[in-house]
């Protein structure tokens, strides 16, 4: 058994930021456990730029953004164990992990930060008819083959899902000489940033087909084509709109799922919408001393926000280790009328800092208001020119406003069109 003050599970942007923040707050014995061979997480394969505009005020590529934190870590005595997989987090915060050199590791930690990130939704969940041939992969897998291994995952590509990873891969494959035939999107709007639609699709005349899905895959060994179809208001394929598109590759960019197997095994309750643990304003889960941040908590659009959130978790963990973290009566938060969820799910009434409530909306709104209410009283109202499901939003609650709320009351956030 090795003793640490803080064990951080995951060495991507979330884990690194949380560890660095805790270190800055004077926590001495910190270990980061990362399953890949390098730190940086998914950023290592995200070689496009667009990272860091908020946090560093400049436009960086994924590896550059990660590189800044890796460099900061190198100058500390934070222990980094790569190629190390965490197998279990016990109720006493003992972390069990394995790697080739240490074998089976038992780490006793005062606090644990969960920063495992998320994974891509696979094909199975979609029930696309057809054979199980090769050539069907998630956009992230394709990205790894191109950017890390240096191999072409396909020549004629159809992409299902217009999330940012799908859009980025459309451009990436085109630049490497592949023909990207189209991007199909089930919803009537794209889940990706406008900038990516313009610069990844429009620049290369790649059609974006909205309200369209892939209903079948064809081919014996390698994929030979897909059948696409328009969908109706209930997202069901419309008969008679089928169209055959020859292609050797189908890339899926159909959503991200927080990687919470460890959290579930540790008995943490997950939010039904975010699929992440329920947390307080310092991102402490319902298990004492266990914090969560980054995409394991909620899927973010921008890594800059992951960093910000993870610093909050790192600060919270530091406070916890030092015995300074407030943990008492709470108010809970709830999204209604167009607001799908709120993070954090609860706030300590006597919290020592202002709290940002993060949320996503369920549809596209223009010129709408975000209304925050408690006990029938409007606490805050904020006008927004545009709200869309693809962009995470937040409202800021002052700590004295929170202090004035009755214990165990509910703060609701809603959209007023």
């Amino acid at each position: 058994m090795t003793d640490f003050d803080l064990a951080v599970v995951g060495g991507g942007p979330a884990g690194m930021a949380a560890a660095l923040k805790a270190h800055e707050e004077g926590i001495e014995k910190i270990v980061i456990l990362e399953r890949a061979e390098t730190l940086g997480g998914i950023l290592e394969q995200c070689i496009h730029t667009g990272f860091g505009l908020h946090y560093f005020g400049e436009e960086l590529s994924g590896p550059e953004y990660a590189g800044r934190f890796i460099k900061l870590l190198a100058d500390t005595d934070i222990v980094v164990k790569t190629d190390t997989m965490v197998l279990d987090i016990a109720s006493d915060n003992t972390v069990t992990a394995v790697n080739k050199t240490d074998g089976l590791l038992k780490i006793s930690a005062k606090a644990v930060v969960l920063a495992m990130g998320c994974r891509e939704r696979p094909r199975g969940a979609l029930s696309i008819a057809g054979t199980r041939n090769s050539g069907i992969m998630t956009a992230g897998t394709a990205q790894k083959y191109v950017n890390i291994y240096g191999y072409m995952p396909g020549h004629e590509v159809v992409i299902l899902g217009s999330g940012d990873i799908g859009l980025i891969m459309a451009r990436r494959m085109t630049l490497e000489g592949a023909k990207v035939k189209m991007v199909c999107e089930l919803m009537p709007y794209s889940g990706g940033l406008t900038r990516n639609i313009v610069q990844c699709l429009n620049d290369f005349d790649i059609p974006l087909k909205l309200s369209t899905t892939v209903v079948a895959t064809h081919g014996k060994d390698r994929l030979e084509g897909v059948t696409i179809a328009k969908v109706d208001g209930n997202l069901q394929p419309i008969e008679g709109t089928e169209e055959y598109v020859p292609c050797d590759t189908l890339m899926l960019s159909v959503g991200l799922i927080p990687e919470n197997e460890l959290s579930k095994n540790a008995g943490l309750e997950l939010d039904r919408i975010t699929n992440g643990p329920k947390v307080d304003e310092y991102r402490e889960t319902e298990q004492k001393g266990v914090f969560a941040c980054g995409n394991v908590l909620q899927v973010h659009d921008l890594v800059d926000y992951v960093t910000e959130e993870s610093q909050i978790a790192g600060l919270g963990a530091a406070k916890f280790i030092k015995g300074e973290k407030i943990s008492g009566a709470c108010v809970t938060t709830s999204g209604t009328n167009g607001v799908r969820y709120i993070v954090p799910q609860r706030i300590n009434c006597e919290t020592d800092a202002d709290v940002k409530l993060y949320f996503r909306v369920g549809a596209v709104y223009t010129n709408a208001s975000i209304v925050v209410e408690s006990n029938g009283k409007i606490i805050l109202s904020k006008k927004k020119k545009k709200l869309c499901p693809g962009e995470m939003e937040y409202v800021l609650l002052k700590k004295d406003v929170i202090a004035g709320l009755p214990k165990d009351s509910v703060i609701t956030v809603r959209v007023e069109a």
Binding site: R35, D83, M85, L87, T96, V98, N99, K100, T101, D102, G103, L104, K106, R119, E120, P122, R123, G124, A125, S127, A129, G130, T131, R132, N133, S134, G135, M137, T138, G140, T141, K144, Y145, V146, Y149, G150, Y151, M152, P153, G154, H155, E176, V215, A216, H218, K220, D221, R222, P237, E261
Partner: protein, 484 residues
Amino acid sequence: MFGRKKGEIMTYDVAIVGAGVVGGLIARELSRFNISVALLEKCNDMAMGTTKANSAIVHGGYDAQPGTLKAKLNVEGTALMPKVCEKLSVPFKNNGSLVVAFSESEMEHVKVLYDRGIKNGVPGLSVIDRDELRRIEPNISESAVGALLCESAGIVCPYELTIAAVENAVVNGVEFIRNCRVQSIEQNGDYTLKTTAGDIKAKFIINAAGNYSDKLASMVGDDSIDLVPRKGEYYLLDKSVGGLAVHTIFQCPNEMGKGILVTPTVDGNLLIGPTAKNIDDKGDTTTTSEGLREIVEKALKSVPTVSPRNAITSFAGVRAHPVCDDFIIGWCEKSEHFLNVAGIESPGLSASPAIALYVREILSEKLNLTEKEHYSDVRKAPVRFRHMNDVERAELIKKNPAYGRIVCRCETVTEGEIIDAIRAPAGARDVDGVKRRTRAGMGRCQGGFCGSKVVEILSRELAVPMNEVTKFGGESKIIYERTK
């Protein structure tokens, strides 16, 4: 072996055509004797046909009509199965099965099945009422009125059984030849099989070619085998809902088969299906939107809480339904040393250990079978990191650090286990082969994380570039040329 040279002529005492569960277990049984045996497989791995995609059930044996080969071999096979699985280190679970009735008239049918089962000699049969049913199967539909309980039924993983059987056979001297599709057969005293892996000579041929056994028989002039390819589609659901069924839950059978079942798998997932549709193309393993919809609709009748939202994958298999409605096992009338083992539809998996013994018996009529001096019917258990405790894990990694590297996090599969699977006798040659042997990529992310790592390990172990690694042989390439 792998990479056989074209034109090389070998003469075997017996060539078994088809490395499904039937061919695999026959090969294992024959490996006990002083004869040379080749097991020919048209695909890049064993268990690639009907064996790969079926319900994975060890049936009690109450379905088949008394007096049929199906009835006899099912009951015998099911009795043999636990021991065979133990020897081959293959998980088998005796979870029992239920045929659920939703009306009084169906209850009558349940009683018919009970009587038939008793005639067939099925142990552990009883007819249970609504209350007992609900007690032993808590998630069963409210509308179920009773059931036939068969305590002797169980579940097994058909491809693991086949892989283990072939491994065991190979260790005992059987030659496993992949990518070996028989194109024609010449008879000049011995048989010469013209295959995609070159000519192969054999004194006896055992036809275990599954859906293609009719075609193979016709190569020696036997057109008597009449098969109808029948497709079945399935959903595999996540382990988080694996507990929705305790027993294998059938509905009352109809003329197309045993209907849609809901069953746990030996690995803890939930399997629902199959549909039953006669098709023209034997190779058609496509799933269809209608089929997938039908599975869910019918499965809901048994267990109202199943949901396709928990699906991690869907697949389809094709079984060879014999028009004569019974297994076709025996000497071919047109060719003296050609033994047909055809039309092995359900309960073929259950019967397979008994089929192997039965075929050995028939073969011994014409071929002298003397037991080898050195033979082992035990296959060493593969390392299963996920089933170990901390002490065992620590010990294992100390011995070989490759077990300290988790490649597939959903199923907790280590690099060491993947290397073992590739280096095993008749080991994995492609990504799906690794998946079937280790479960890497079988979990909820379906290889999203580990897929490229498995390709990397295969490339290293087989000493081929990454872009020559396939998903399941043939043209199923995963990646193409270098980007630069």
